[in-house]
Each structure stands twice: as structure tokens, then as C-alpha cells.
Symmetry: C2
Subunit: 156 residues, 2 copies
DNA sequence: CTGAACATTTGACAACGTGAACCTTTCACG
DNA sequence: CGTGAAAGGTTCACGTTGTCAAATGTTCAG
């Protein structure tokens, strides 16, 4: 109990970095609230909305969903159950490997997800306060921060 | 079902804004994961850690906690119960208004929260890829986006 | 063919979160 | 005053997320 469990070596973190981290925290909180709210407006939970969003690129094995969301596969079972019960996704066996089940969004699922995405006017008010070139700068900075780190937003 | 439920009037959202929103989503996911992980490493849940973080500025009525976290007050009861059971917070009656219960972090609570905050090396790797002046720019942009919007990160 | 590894499911359990009902306290108003 | 409405917390019932451990079915290497 007397030494920090996971990380030990860590630079002191300068003032700017620290402040950026705090600002991020605020942004994250804001975003999270809005996302959850937008999902709820379509009687989806945040987790369901996330899964649905993942499936926009096509069917996906549950294992992959679990990995992307960094949670246990057994958790996905329940979420997909509920989405399936409402007709937003289907489970189909993968012909290549009969162990895996491919989850695919139905038309209803796709459009619900798309609608939600469109309604995400998060950061639209906040972003509106920035000039165009500032937004570009922000985009570039965020891009650089995220490159190689994030599987979810990978546009491939 | 044929018209969007909540929002109707909404500008088309230019490409840059849209991309920034997507990048934010990635960042949010990343941050969220790390936060939850860092909390878990101290056997706290995310919600408990958030409450504890709120109390760093001093005791606070439960009602206020609920408002800041935008959730129902009844939810806070349980979270504070669990924090209290572990000796991280105490409940004390507000002398001004005996309906109110002020939640205060104990020394253990404060240090746990501080430790967690320090360990949040989120964005330290991501941020490390940015030069100092870029970090400053990022900070300024984020500040402007959040000003007037976010009660949680208010540095007062 | 056998056993290890893998994908999913099931079941038990804890935490979060909501909504409604309830108790106590406060406060405005007659 | 004294009464009733409103506010702060709690409790209860309920559904969703999340974990872990055990089971089932499938694949694949040896």
C-alpha cells in the first residue's frame, strides 16, 4: 500500500500540460453529458449508442466490439441482446468461423445512429466561438495528439 | 417518428467542425478509459472519483454535487454512502440549514483524489508530441471553447 | 484424435442511474 | 402564530453497465 501501484516514473508535468489536462476534463464531461442526453432522446443508452456507432462501418464480431470499447465480451452480449430486441441489430454467424457472431446494424439501427450523430451539436456552440482558422488549428493539434493512439476514430 | 424530436434548427456543420467533433469523440473515449482505469487502480469507481474530485475545493451540499454531475440527488446518496463507508468522506449537517448535509473529504479522501489526479498521465503522451507553443495554443483554444459553459473546471 | 485456445453465453453480483414516495426542515403568507 | 408549499435527503423498486468464473461450441496444431 505504500508505493503507487501502476505508474512510477513520471515527469513533473509542466503547468501548461496540467492546465490542458484540466480543460480536457471539462470538455470530456461536457461531451459525455451531451452524448448521453442525445442518446436518451432516442431512448438509447450511451453504451447502446456507442455500439451502434461502431457498426456504421459494417458488421463486426462481438469480440472486436468488446476490444474497441475496452470491456469484457460478456458485457457486450447483454448490450447486443437489448439492441437486437428492439430491432436495431442482428446477429449472424460468421461463415468463416462458426464461433464468431457478426453483429450488423439493421436499417433502423443505422438511421437511429446517423440521426443521433447529426443531432450531436456538441461543441457546435463552443466551436462557434472560434474563427475558421482557429478551428483548423485545433483540428490539426487534436489530430496529432490522437494519431496512432485511437482505434475508434480511425477513418479507414 | 417522422421529425427529429428535440433539435430542429441546426446549421449544416462545416467539414472542419464535423472533423473536430469526431476528434473530440476519440479524445473523450481515450480520456474516459484512462480516468476509469486510474480510479480502479485505487479501487474507486469513476463516479466516486468524480465526487471526491469535486470536494477538493471544500465541503459541498449533496444537492450541489448532483447538479454539477447532472444526475438525480438520490443517486448521490448511494455514492456518498460508499465513500463514507470507506472513510473518504463525512456527512455533516449544515448549521445554516438543517435540511442540508455537507459532504466533506477526509484526509484519506483528499490524498486519494490528489494521487489519482497526479497519476492521470492521460494526454501526457499525446501532449508530449506537441511543442510548447502548440500546447499553449491548444490551451487557449480550449479555454475559449469552455468559457462560460463549464461549472466543473471553474478554477475559482 | 486430443487438447489447448478462442468466441460467445450464462449466472451471480456490485455500482450507477432514474423515478416515485416519504420525512424533515424552511419559508412565505394569511 | 400556524399552515401549507417547497426544498434537501433518503429509501425503494427497477433497469442497464460492468466484472468475474464457469459452461458450451468451434477451431486448430500436433
Amino acid at each position: 500500500m505504500e508505493n503507487t501501484p501502476t505508474k512510477v516514473v513520471q515527469e513533473p508535468a509542466d503547468a501548461i500540460t496540467r492546465e490542458v489536462v484540466d480543460l480536457m476534463a471539462g470538455l470530456v464531461a461536457l461531451f459525455h453529458r451531451e452524448y448521453e442526453e442525445a442518446a436518451a432522446a432516442r431512448s438509447l443508452t450511451g453504451a447502446q449508442a456507442k455500439v451502434l456507432a461502431l457498426l456504421r462501418r459494417g458488421p463486426m464480431p462481438m469480440r472486436h466490439i468488446a476490444q474497441t470499447l475496452s470491456c469484457e465480451p460478456s458485457n457486450i452480449t447483454g448490450i447486443v441482446d437489448r439492441l437486437e430486441a428492439r430491432g436495431f441489430v442482428t446477429r449472424q454467424a460468421d461463415p468463416q468461423d462458426r464461433r464468431v457472431k457478426l453483429v450488423a446494424a439493421t436499417e433502423a439501427g443505422r438511421s437511429a445512429s446517423e440521426e443521433l450523430r447529426e443531432s450531436l451539436n456538441f461543441a457546435r456552440e463552443p466551436l462557434a466561438t472560434l474563427a475558421e482558422d482557429e478551428r483548423t488549428t485545433l483540428r490539426d493539434l487534436l489530430r496529432r495528439m490522437l494519431e496512432g493512439a485511437d482505434p475508434e476514430t480511425d477513418p479507414s
